[in-house]
């Protein structure tokens, strides 16, 4: 269970987030949707406490995250960064094993190896397991990073565009793995993602972020052509295919200067 209570954040003087408030329950995957620069990554970093929000607090299972030690936080919260450097001479297995670090006191135990083996197999990374990170493709590296976060066995997962480098098959596979982990282990997951259809298919909840404020938040019902048009400035058609909702982009709209003006008004 993750509660974000009115987080505001500014880079120097440039306000990026304003009073962002929402909850993600255990076993729930929430997608953050919003255009480039909307503040998705910033929000995730504030929750991770990499950035210090100007105001507001983050509660994990009702406990204030700002009072936790880094290591304590790492045991409860996993993070998949938008960019991973990946130029280390570290094998894939070792990289995934890093996810066990918050749980390891001194040496690597049988359980740690077991957990790593499990996620490596779940994400079909076996064949790569002794390959060095700097010898992987972008998508392979992304899977390794996701595997590391899963190996952390956290209660909260923050994913920053985890599928941006993946091919069609891997997008589905990785999202299925993430979703299964989320529902089976009762993880509260928050994911920034650009592919609205992928989000529609796998998430329980949606958060539309525009100019650092929540524009709309809720189940699939918030994905309407009106909302998408407001947030992305793109005219879309929302269709249902079988039981599944999909959006079809039609054309871009006149770009609204709304973000900056709104920000000035505040």
């Amino acid at each position: 269970m993750l509660s974000v209570n009115g987080i505001s954040f500014a880079y120097n003087c440039k306000s990026v987030l304003n009073g962002v408030r929402f909850d993600v329950a255990g076993g729930e995957l929430c997608s953050i949707l919003g255009n480039n620069g909307a503040g998705k990554s910033t929000l995730l970093k504030c929750i991770l406490r990499v950035l210090q929000p100007r105001e507001g607090s983050v509660l994990i299972e009702g406990e204030d995250a700002s009072h936790m030690k880094r290591m304590e936080l790492a045991r409860r919260m996993g993070y998949v960064a938008q960019k991973e450097s990946g130029n280390a001479r570290l094998t894939v297995f070792d990289a995934v094993l890093m996810g066990r670090r918050p749980h390891i006191n001194w040496g690597v135990g049988e359980k740690d190896l077991e957990v790593v083996r499990g996620v490596v197999e779940a994400l079909e990374l076996e064949d790569l397991s002794l390959r060095y990170l700097d010898e992987l493709s972008g998508g392979e590296l992304q899977k390794v990073v996701i595997a590391r976060a899963l190996a952390q066995e956290p209660g909260v997962m923050l994913l920053d565009e985890p599928t941006s480098n993946l091919d069609l098959r891997n997008q589905l596979e990785v999202m299925e793995t993430v979703r299964r982990a989320v529902t089976e282990r009762g993880i509260a997951a928050l994911m920034a993602i650009h592919d609205v259809n992928l989000a529609l298919r796998f998430s329980h909840k949606f958060m539309l972020l525009r100019g650092g404020v929540i524009f709309a938040c809720g189940g699939a019902e918030v994905i309407t052509s009106g909302n998408i048009q407001e947030v992305y400035g793109v005219k879309v058609e929302v269709e249902t295919l079988g039981e599944r909702k999909i959006i079809i982009p039609l054309q871009t709209m006149e770009a609204k200067a709304v973000t900056r003006e709104e920000q000035h008004a505040r």
């Binding site: 880094r70 304590e72 919260m77 960064a81 001479r89 094998t91 670090r101 083996r117 076996e126 002794l130």
Partner: protein, 373 residues
């Protein structure tokens, strides 16, 4: 391996080594880590063997067997005297300094995420040289003659050592203060280190300009590193600093691994990035400073021995830290052995020999690339 999923190859090639039919990921991984442990063990054994040979070499004509006997306290008086009181100190000083310098380079590279980091590139050595130069000039040429060269007179070796240490630490603190209070990035820290290094070098040059002939000779002589300068007392101080710091670095091995993935990810894995970087730099510089102030400048070990190990066993700091220690000890020991035997009885400056041996080896490894076909 997952049942029902066929694997059309049954070999796994790692670093030129072929592991057959790895039934599951864990076994392959174990075999792979075992190989790293073996490499490190081999380097350690080589260092021990070389240490014994090194203690046997010299004008006294002692055999390696006699060395071992002397170490076990079963040789005659004279042999024991030479081996324990002269040669063993020298060998141990080379080992401890090798470990310290190499470890310092390894950890500086880890926390600054930069392959160029070492005591030499970050201005620690230059700071020490400047401190020593100032002390030599300030105390003036005096009565105490130094071990090697005739024209060299260092009046107060302890003062020089302390001043060198002060210079080395000053260089480090300058960088760390910038990092702490101005929040400069790791790349900027490297650049600042290079800047402070040239500042100190310029300071040394100016000091030399105003010194007399004997003082200049003494300064130059001081900068030639020499592991023979250490006595038991210096060795004890060096070890007292190096060993706890080594333990600290080993304790932080996971943190250095995590830093490789970037600061944000490292934080998400529970690493206190700021503290790890600050303490890493501070302690690495401390170890290097102690070695440099007692023995003079020994270039290149700090840069080359971690990289030699990186090339052989990869960047995993769980293995790289002990590996670098072993390699640093081996390299400095080998350089010292060579420096005092190659044109015996003249003892060449070990710092020059480290570069002579290290550079070609390093270039060879760079050109050959990582171990994998």
């Amino acid at each position: 391996m997952r049942a029902g999923r066929r694997r059309d190859w049954c070999e796994l090639e790692v670093d030129g080594q072929v592991y057959e039919a790895v039934e599951n990921v864990g076994d392959g991984y174990r075999a792979y880590t075992r190989r790293k442990v073996l490499v490190i063990a081999a380097v350690i054994i080589a260092a021990v063997v070389l240490a014994i040979i090194s203690m046997a070499l010299g004008s006294a004509g002692i055999s390696p067997l006699e060395v071992i006997k002397a170490l076990l306290g079963q040789a005659d008086e004279r042999t024991t005297q030479i081996v324990i009181n002269i040669r063993l100190v020298r060998v141990l000083a080379a080992v401890v300094a090798g470990i310290g310098l190499s470890l310092a380079g390894c950890v500086m590279q880890a926390v600054l995420l930069n392959p160029l980091a070492s005591d030499y590139t970050l201005g620690v050595s230059q700071g020490a040289a400047f401190g020593a130069a100032v002390a030599i000039v300030a105390t003036g040429a005096g009565s105490m003659q130094s071990s090697g060269a005739d024209a060299v007179l260092i009046r107060n070796p302890y003062l020089v050592t302390v001043a060198a240490f002060g210079g080395a630490i000053a260089a480090t603190l300058a960088i760390l203060l910038l990092a702490r209070y101005k929040g400069i990035s790791p790349e900027a820290m490297i650049l600042a280190g290079i800047a402070f290094g040239s500042l100190f070098s310029a300071g040394t040059v100016i000091t030399q300009y105003f010194a007399n002939d004997v003082q200049v000779a003494s300064i130059v002589f001081w900068t030639f590193g020499d592991v023979g300068r250490a006595s038991w007392r210096e060795l004890a101080i060096m070890s007292a600093v190096t060993l706890p710091v080594t333990a600290y670095f080993v304790f932080n091995r996971w943190n250095y691994n995590a830093l490789e993935s970037g600061d944000d990810t490292a934080r998400s894995l529970g690493v206190n990035v700021g503290r790890t970087r600050l303490m890493g730099m501070l302690l690495a510089s401390l170890v290097a400073s102690v070695a440099v102030s007692f023995l003079g400048i020994i270039a290149f070990i700090g840069l080359v021995s971690p990289h030699l190990m990186r090339r052989i066993i990869g960047d995993d700091y769980r293995f790289l830290i002990p590996g670098s220690c072993a390699m640093g000890a081996l390299l400095l020991l080998a350089s010292d052995t060579l420096s005092r035997t190659i044109i015996a009885p003249v003892v060449l400056p070990v710092g020059a020999i480290t570069s002579f041996m290290g550079a070609p080896l390093f270039l060879y490894l760079l050109i050959r690339g990582y171990r994998r076909s």
